[in-house]
C-alpha cells in the first residue's frame, strides 16, 4: 500500500481556486489536520472567506494571485490556511504564528501538517515545553536573565524534539509488546501525534519500516 496522503491528489491537480472554492476545500480537509478531540467537538472551527481575508491582511498567508480583478488561490495557500488553523486551535497566539506559514517551503508545510515521514516535529505540548524552558534557564548562564517575561500568551512553537542528553537527564525508554516478536521502544519524551493525518502517517511509517525488514529476511530463507 502506498501512503495516500489526501493532500497529494490536490497538489497534483494544480488547482487555481476562487476564494469560495478555497474555503470549501479547506473546510473539507481541515478536520483531518486538527487535534482529534477538537475536530469533533467544535463545529465553528470552519474557515470563512472573511477569515481568509483577515489572515491575509495580517500577513499570515501569501497574497492571492490575480486573474483580472479576481483573487486566485493555489495549493500553497491551502497548506498555509491549514497550518494557521491548526496552530490557532492548539492555542498558539496569532502574534506567534505571524509569518511562519509564509516563510516555509511547501514541503516543510506538508511535513508540519502530516508529521509523518521524518517525524522531526514534536507536536505541541505547552506544559512540557514550558518546563524544559525552565530547566534550560536553570542550567544555563547563571543570573543572566533573572526574570523571564511572564506573559502567558506566546507559547513556544513546535521545535525539534530536544535530545534527552542535552537536558542532562537519564534517557528513559518504555518497551511495549505489540505482538509476540514485536516490541516498540518509546522514549519518555515521545508524544503521540494528535491529528488523524499525523497518526495515519505514523502507521504508514511503521509498516514501511517493518516491510523493509522482512524483505531481506525472506530472501535469505529462500
Amino acid at each position: 500500500m502506498i501512503n495516500m496522503s489526501i493532500l497529494e491528489p490536490i497538489s497534483q491537480s494544480k488547482p487555481l481556486w476562487s476564494l469560495d472554492e478555497l474555503v470549501q476545500v479547506a473546510n473539507d480537509v481541515l478536520p483531518q489536520f486538527l487535534p482529534e478531540e477538537k475536530a469533533h467537538t467544535r463545529v465553528r472551527e470552519a474557515v470563512s472567506p472573511r477569515l481568509i481575508r483577515h489572515y491575509t491582511s495580517q500577513g499570515m498567508l501569501d497574497e492571492p494571485l490575480k486573474e483580472g480583478r479576481e483573487a486566485r488561490y493555489v495549493y500553497r495557500h491551502l497548506l498555509q490556511v491549514l497550518l494557521v488553523r491548526r496552530l490557532l486551535t492548539e492555542g498558539y497566539g496569532a502574534s506567534v504564528i505571524d509569518s511562519l506559514a509564509r516563510s516555509k517551503p511547501n514541503q516543510e508545510l506538508e511535513a508540519l501538517l502530516q508529521g509523518g515521514v521524518q517525524l522531526t516535529v514534536t507536536p505541541a505540548n505547552p506544559a512540557l515545553a514550558f518546563l524544559q524552558d525552565i530547566q534550560q534557564r536553570q542550567s544555563g548562564t547563571k543570573r543572566s536573565s533573572p526574570r523571564r517575561s511572564l506573559s502567558p500568551q506566546p507559547m513556544p512553537l513546535p521545535s525539534p524534539a530536544p535530545s534527552a542528553s542535552s537536558l542532562g537527564e537519564p534517557t528513559q525508554w518504555q518497551r511495549l509488546e505489540v505482538l509476540p516478536g514485536l516490541e516498540i521502544h518509546v522514549r519518555s519524551d515521545f508524544v503521540l501525534p494528535t491529528t488523524s493525518q499525523e497518526q495515519h502517517s505514523l502507521q504508514q511509517r511503521i509498516l514501511q519500516l517493518l516491510r523493509s525488514l522482512s524483505r531481506p529476511k525472506r530472501r535469505s530463507k529462500s
Binding site: L128, Q138, V191
Partner: protein, 600 residues
C-alpha cells in the same frame, strides 16, 4: 456546544434584603457557590495524572517524617485506579525520579520502590518540582494533572527566589498542570508553599506533625476525585453606581480583574463575602427590584470545556426607616465576622514580622473580644483559635505561630470559606474522657432505646442526673425510630436540652453490619438537624453504639467523626461538637480518630 450536565448553584445572600432610597447603604453579600454532588460510582470520577515530589533532605529523618511521607505516598498509590497515572520524584541536592510517569498498574512494585526512599542532603525544591512537573506533563491525557510537593525545609539549592518559583508554578498551571503543596513541621517556608499552591490552582497544607500526613493525602485525593471545576474565577460587575468597597476573602486577582477561587469540589461550598457601597437609589415597589450587580462564575470542567454562569443581585429600594425593619441575616453576619478574623490574623503576622509583638497580640485579643461580642455560633471555636495564636505568640513560638496563623487565614479564604475551617476547634481541641450527664453545654445527646426508657448505661446516668421529670417527658414523646432523634428539656441537668437518639445493635453478618453503621450515621445526622431547628449552637455526644449496642469502638469512632465533620465542614450553624467517652479505651479510639480528621 455541549450543555453542562452538572453546574454549581450560586446563591446571593445579602445581610439585609433591601437597600435605601435616602442614603448610602453598606451591604455585605455572601456569594455562596454550591457544587453539585459527585457522581455515585467510583469509575466516574475524573482520571488523575499525579506527580508526587517528595523532599528527602537530611531533616526529613527527624521525627519519623520520612517514614510517614513514605506511608502517605503508599496510601495514595493504593487508592489510585488503573486508569490513573503517577510518578514519584524525590529530591535533596539531587533530583531523582524513582517511578517515572506510568499507569497505576503495578501497585505492589511501586510501593516497594517508595519504601526504599532514604533521607539524604539539602533541599533543591525548585528542581524537584520541575522534574515532577515534567513527569506529569509527558502524558496529559488525564482529566486532572497535578504535582503534589511535600517538603519540610527551606529551598536552599538551585532556584530559591520565591516570586520566580511561584510564577513558574503559575505558568505551568495555565498549561494544564496544577500544583498542591504540603509543609511538614515548623522549619519550612510557609509563604513560599502557600504562594505555590495559590498560583498553582492547588491546595496548601500545614502539617504540624508527621502523623497527620496520611490523613492529609487522603484529603487531597478525595478533593481531586471530587473536582468538578478548576481555574475557577469570579467576576463582579456592579451596576447603577454601586461600588465594590471590599472583598473580605483574601483572594488573588487575575489580569482581567477576576477573583481566583479554589477548585470546585463536589458538595464543598465556597463563600465569597463582598462589601458593596450602594448609593441612594430611587425607590421601587416591593415587587420591583433594582439590579445592583452581576456576578459571573467561570471554570474549566473535567472535559476541559470552559463553563460560565451569571447571576445578578436584585433588591428592593426602601426608605431607611423601612430598611431598619429588615432582619439581619445571621449567616452573612457570621461569614463576614469570620473573614474579618482571618484578615486580623494576617495583619498580626505582618506586625510580628516587623517585630511589633505587643501590637500583634493586641490585634488578636481585640478580634477575639469582637468575636465573642457578636455572640454567634462560631464565636466559641473562633475565639479559641485566636486564643491559641495569642498563646503561641506570648510563648515566642514564632515558627509555629506564623504557620498556624497563615494557614488558618488561607483556609478561611479559599477551600474552607464556608463552614468550619478548623475542625480542631469545632471539636474543642479533642474528645473528653468523662460523664455525659455532667457536661455544661447547651445540649447533650442520650443514646436511648426505642421506648426512650431509662435503661442502658448512658441513659440511666442521664436520667439519674436529670430527675424523674425527664422520664415523664420521654413518655409523652412515646417512642423513637432507629436513627431518628427527639428532644426534651434537660430539667436538673446543666444542659438545657437532651436530644434522644436510637442506634441499633451491632449484628453478626457483614451485610447487617452495613445497615447498623448506616443507622448510626443517621443518628448523628438526626441529632444535628434537631439541634439546628432549636437554635442549639453547642452539643455533646456520648460514644453512641459502644456500650451495650456492641459496636467495635473503632467503627463507632470513625462514624462519629466522619458524619459530624462532613456536616461541620459545610455549616457554621453549630459551633461546637463535643465528644464525651466514659470508657478509657473508647476514649483512646476517639482521640485517634479525632487526630485523623482534625487536619481536614
Amino acid at each position: 456546544m455541549t450543555m453542562p450536565r452538572n453546574i454549581p448553584q450560586v446563591d446571593l445572600i445579602p445581610l439585609r434584603a433591601a437597600v435605601c432610597s435616602d442614603r448610602t447603604t453598606t451591604l455585605d453579600v455572601v456569594i455562596r457557590i454550591t457544587p453539585p454532588a459527585a457522581p455515585k460510582t467510583d469509575g466516574q470520577r475524573p482520571s488523575l495524572n499525579l506527580g508526587f515530589v517528595i523532599d528527602r533532605s537530611g531533616s526529613m529523618a527527624s521525627e519519623r517524617k520520612i517514614d510517614q511521607a513514605r506511608d502517605a505516598v503508599c496510601y495514595a498509590i493504593d487508592h489510585l485506579l488503573p486508569s490513573d497515572r503517577l510518578s514519584v520524584t524525590i529530591f535533596d541536592d539531587q533530583v531523582q525520579t524513582i517511578i517515572s510517569s506510568t499507569p497505576v498498574n503495578n501497585k505492589a512494585s511501586f510501593t516497594r520502590l517508595v519504601q526504599q526512599i532514604r533521607p539524604g542532603g539539602r533541599t533543591a525544591l525548585h528542581a524537584g518540582w520541575v522534574e515532577g512537573g515534567i513527569q506529569v506533563s509527558q502524558t496529559m491525557i488525564a482529566q486532572l494533572n497535578r504535582v503534589i510537593l511535600l517538603s519540610d525545609g527551606l529551598a536552599n539549592v538551585g532556584e530559591t527566589n520565591s516570586d520566580l518559583i511561584a510564577s513558574d508554578v503559575h505558568g505551568l498551571a495555565q498549561r494544564g498542570v496544577s500544583t498542591s503543596t504540603m509543609g511538614v513541621g515548623n522549619q519550612y517556608n510557609e509563604d513560599l508553599l502557600e504562594a505555590m499552591a495559590r498560583s498553582g490552582d492547588g491546595n496548601y497544607y500545614y502539617i504540624e506533625t508527621a502523623e497527620q500526613l496520611p490523613a492529609i493525602f487522603e484529603q487531597e485525593l478525595q478533593g481531586l476525585s471530587a473536582t468538578m471545576g478548576r481555574a475557577v474565577t469570579l467576576a463582579i460587575n456592579p451596576k447603577n453606581d454601586v461600588v465594590v468597597a471590599d472583598v473580605l476573602n483574601d483572594l488573588d486577582v487575575d489580569r482581567q480583574g477576576r477573583f481566583k477561587l479554589s477548585n470546585l469540589l463536589a458538595e464543598n461550598v465556597l463563600d465569597v463575602v463582598v462589601r458593596l457601597k450602594v448609593p441612594a437609589l430611587s425607590q421601587t415597589s416591593e415587587a420591583q427590584e433594582t439590579v445592583l450587580g452581576d456576578f459571573c462564575l467561570e471554570w474549566t470542567d473535567p472535559e476541559r470545556q470552559q463553563q460560565q454562569m451569571q447571576v445578578s443581585l436584585q433588591l428592593p429600594v426602601v426608605t431607611s426607616e423601612q430598611w431598619e425593619d429588615f432582619p439581619l441575616n445571621i449567616d452573612v453576619q457570621q461569614q463576614a465576622a469570620l473573614m474579618m478574623s482571618a484578615r486580623a490574623k494576617k495583619e498580626a503576622v505582618r506586625l510580628v514580622d516587623q517585630g511589633d509583638y505587643a501590637k500583634a497580640n493586641q490585634v488578636l485579643q481585640s478580634t477575639k473580644q469582637q468575636m465573642l461580642a457578636f455572640d454567634l455560633p462560631m464565636s466559641a471555636p473562633e475565639s479559641a483559635a485566636l486564643d491559641d495564636l495569642s498563646h503561641q505568640l506570648e510563648q515566642r513560638q514564632f515558627a509555629r505561630y506564623r504557620k498556624m496563623s497563615s494557614s488558618q487565614s488561607y483556609r478561611r479564604s479559599s477551600r474552607r470559606s464556608s463552614g468550619h475551617a478548623e475542625l480542631f476547634y469545632a471539636y474543642e481541641r479533642g474528645p473528653r474522657w468523662g460523664d455525659i450527664s455532667q457536661q455544661e453545654i447547651e445540649a447533650i445527646v442520650n443514646s436511648s432505646d426505642r421506648a426512650l426508657s431509662s435503661d442502658g448505661a448512658i441513659s440511666s446516668a442521664i436520667h439519674a442526673a436529670a430527675g424523674p421529670e425527664l422520664l415523664a417527658a420521654c413518655r409523652q414523646l412515646r417512642d423513637c425510630e432507629y436513627g431518628s432523634a427527639k428532644i426534651t428539656a434537660g430539667f436538673k441537668l446543666s444542659a438545657q436540652w437532651v436530644i434522644h437518639t436510637v442506634g441499633s445493635v451491632w449484628p453478626q453478618t457483614p451485610e447487617e453490619q452495613e445497615i447498623a453503621m448506616a443507622t448510626l450515621k443517621q443518628c448523628y445526622q438526626s441529632c444535628l438537624q434537631v439541634a439546628i431547628s432549636h437554635g442549639i449552637r453547642a452539643i455533646a455526644f456520648p460514644a453512641i453504639g459502644t456500650g451495650s449496642l456492641g459496636f467495635p469502638a473503632k467503627v463507632a469512632a470513625r462514624i462519629a467523626f466522619e458524619t459530624t465533620s462532613q456536616f461541620l465542614l459545610n455549616s457554621t450553624s453549630i459551633g461546637t461538637v463535643r465528644f464525651v467517652c466514659f470508657e478509657e479505651q473508647t476514649y483512646q479510639y476517639y482521640k485517634r480518630e479525632f487526630g485523623r480528621v482534625a487536619g481536614w
